[in-house]
Amino acid sequence: MMQGPDIGKAIFEHTSDSHVIEWPFGLETHLPTNWVIFGINVSPTKHVIFMIIAACLVFLTIWYAGRQVERRHREGKAPHGFGAAVEAMVLFVRNDVAIANIGHDGEKFAPYILTLFFFILYCNLLGLLPWGATPTGNLAVTGALALTAFVTIEVSGFRALGPRGYLKTIVFVPPGMKGVGAVAMAFIMTPIEIIGKLVKPFALTLRLFANMTAGHFVILALLGLIFIFGSWLVAAGSVAFVTFMMLLELLVAFLQAYIFALLTSVFIGMMQHAH
């Protein structure tokens, strides 16, 4: 596969989406390419498949942990083992991410934030497996996730503030201003407020995508050095660096899932308490 020194092309091929899923021993599965709904090509791709795998794993994890925790609770025992580990993460996200940043309404949003965190985490981690792919290293995926965050932020803001209060978050007039000044300020500030609203999901999209893709680029570039130089010495150095990068990627996988969930919570909280 990596015969030629065209490492850039290999890196792009490896990190981009594809209609082909690669398996060990050079086996491949070709996915259908002709699914169209409302004129949009919705053929499943590699990232779709890995997203579904991630979703299934998340569901199994949470469902199994929930069952275990519930059973231990019924028996009047303290949580233990796998259930306790998942519970600790769930509680951390619920208490220190959702409730801490959204406020007293945080419990309502906790399931969404938790799902976001675990789904992104599993997508990130799947990319670290051999033959795996990182759905969160795709702008469409991170964009769609940010879109759900955007909708959640705006809808929750609308419901918390009411139509008038919500309108104030778009047409901003500094308090105490009247007459022409107020109109002028509203005229100037409204585009800024709208941009402010749109920048948040855009930042979420790019941050997750860039972090996941960049890590893979670095790893692949380091591995590419081996094929460019064709030297055992370089190979040893590259492998050492790649191992280190892999550990860093493991950290980044958790960190980015945490940051996405945290920022979404912060944005929801900001809207809830906007005056």
Partner: protein, 178 residues
């Protein structure tokens, strides 16, 4: 044909391309996951945790209540013991006072009886003495009379003798009164 498809794909996908279909899929997959977890996943963990939090809170409150109750009981017991001690002290004091009074009266009575006994003994002695003196006097008179009769037999109508007897009698009288 597969080769052609691959070519198309290579043209189609780069790390920076945005595939509308993938947005659709992401929303569907995420939405389904969210719905499933909302229904079957999170409640199990979150309800359990909340339940446990409630239970622990309850146990803490119960422990606090039990502690307060124990403290209250301890206080009550202390008070009871203190009052019992005071009562015992009081009973002891009263008993001592009663015993003192009893002893006092007993002593007084004993002294009184002793005085009475002494008095009676003295009276009896006096009476006995009186009686003895009376008896002695009668004996003396009898003796005198006997002596007189002997004298009379010897020398009747002797004026001097009569005088002598009278003097003697007067002497006796004087000795008695003295």
């Amino acid at each position: 044909m597969p080769a052609l498809l691959l070519l198309v794909q290579e043209g189609e996908f780069t790390p920076f391309s945005i595939n509308t279909g993938l947005i659709f899929w992401t929303i569907v997959v995420f939405g389904v996951l969210l719905a499933l977890l909302w229904r079957f996943g999170w409640p199990a963990i979150l309800k359990t945790v909340e339940d446990r939090e409630r239970r622990i809170q309850q146990q803490l409150e119960e422990a606090e209540r039990a502690r307060a109750e124990a403290a209250r009981l301890l206080e009550e017991h202390k008070r009871t013991i203190a009052s019992a001690k005071a009562e015992a002290q009081e009973i002891l004091a009263r008993a001592k006072a009663v015993a003192d009074k009893e002893r006092e009266t007993l002593l007084a009575k004993a002294r009184q009886e002793y005085e009475q006994l002494l008095e009676r003994a003295r009276q009896e002695i006096g009476a006995e003495k009186e009686k003895a003196i009376e008896a002695l006097r009668r004996e003396a008179v009898d003796l005198s009379i006997a002596a007189a009769s002997k004298l009379l037999e010897a020398q009747l109508d002797s004026e001097t003798n009569r005088k002598l007897v009278m003097e003697y009698l007067a002497q006796l009288e004087a000795g008695r009164t003295s």
